[in-house]
Amino acid sequence: MSMPDVRRGAGGAQIQGAGGWGGQSTNLGDILERVLDKGLVIAGDIRVNLLDIELLTIKLRLVIASLETAKSVGINWWESDPWLNADAADRQERRRAAGGDGGRELADLEDENRQLRNRVAELESGDRPEAGAADDEVRARPGAGRRSRD
């Protein structure tokens, strides 16, 4: 089977053979995704529910289960994945800003931001050349301490 011979072509497209002869070069993930979750499902005499497999549950189900299957077992991470869904990304940003995951880091950053702006404003204004001004002194000055939050 002839394959277009492009690897990391000009436009950033990477083209690989699927089967190849021997198939060892084919990405295992691509094969597992197809043979575990795709292909025709008909009843065999030996019944094995692939979704009952613990390894699949833990290591694979989340990453290979089809959207339909995923939905049926309550996994809809795909739809809420911020990488795919701009709305979800926005929600995540808001959650973080509101103090969820990463909230502390952001709060720290904002704190640092506030202090540094105050300091910068003070230094640049030139009316308080003393570098050792304490933060609370700076905050006490109208117009310097308040304007950092908008």
Binding site: G11, A13, G23, E33, D45, L50, E79, R117
Partner: protein, 269 residues
């Protein structure tokens, strides 16, 4: 005295050239045979029930090495046969107690199989995955005026970085949608699968599209060119084309459904 045997079913085809099966090693290393069933051909092989009974499968499927070897063996037989002509690939671990049972099952559903074989014909599946492109080298932040101090500059850079990340995500998702729409026009059918996580894809980059396209014979080159053109047009994502695959994603009821929708990302919530 022989071990109890089971029969592992790989695929159902119209006709199979017996020569195509010669030398093929199936699951468990066994031979692969073509068996007539209801005017069709079942491609199947003996497996030892000691390893492929319900209890044994349940145990073995938990073993990643066993699973990997079995999945590859199953795929290799199907892949080799798909080069000869149309077939309907079976999902992994479709096992019967006898050839008679295989024949009875396929005969009972012969109409469905014929319909699917007709629909697939010589078409092949091609996979296209899109990853978020590597983060661009941080550009010198122009936002901070020359008079601003180092602290302000740092903070403004951080702010720009955060919002740049968000823009990159949006752009990648939008590009993935566009690419999928464009590529679907070259295909007889198209399906979006959930993106693979890094541990499965083996890629560090975030996957934003994992789609399959059913292409008419002879359209692979045109399709590959389209992928290259689209990759050039969408620098926010990196495209990867794989194929040809047997039409795993386009057989049976399990392949129907929401995955068919034109857009890879739902916006309904």
């Amino acid at each position: 005295m022989t071990e109890p045997r089971g029969v592992w079913l790989y695929a159902v085809a119209g006709q199979v050239d017996a020569a195509a099966l010669t030398g093929l090693a199936g699951v468990g290393g066994g031979a692969v045979r073509a068996v007539a069933a209801g005017g069709l051909t079942a491609v199947a092989g003996d497996v030892e029930l000691e390893e492929y009974s319900e209890a044994a499968l349940r145990r073995n499927l938990e073993d990643m090495d066993w699973l990997a070897a079995t999945a590859r063996a199953h795929h290799q037989v199907i892949d080799a046969l798909a080069r000869q002509g149309p077939l309907v690939p079976m999902r992994l671990a479709t096992v019967y107690r006898s050839f008679a049972s295989v024949i009875a099952t396929i005969t009972a559903r012969a109409g469905d199989f014929r319909q699917t074989l007709d629909r697939l014909g010589t078409r092949k599946e091609w996979g296209v995955k899109a990853y978020m492109a590597d983060e661009p080298a941080p550009a010198a932040a122009p936002g901070a005026g020359p008079a601003a101090g180092a602290g302000t500059a740092y903070l403004m850079r951080r702010r720009e970085q955060l919002s740049a990340n968000q823009s990159r995500r949006r752009e990648a998702a939008a590009s993935a949608r566009t690419v999928h729409g464009e590529l679907s026009r070259h295909a007889a059918e198209a399906r979006c699968h959930p993106p693979q996580a890094p541990q499965l894809s083996g890629e560090r980059a975030v996957m934003v599209l994992n789609a399959a396209y059913l292409l008419d014979e002879g359209r692979a080159t045109e399709f590959a060119e389209a992928v290259t053109v689209l990759a050039g047009r969408h620098p926010s994502i990196r495209l990867e084309l794989t194929g040809p695959w047997p039409a795993y994603s386009f057989v049976g009821a399990s392949a129907e459904g929401p995955g068919r929708s034109a857009a890879p990302a739902s916006t309904e919530n």
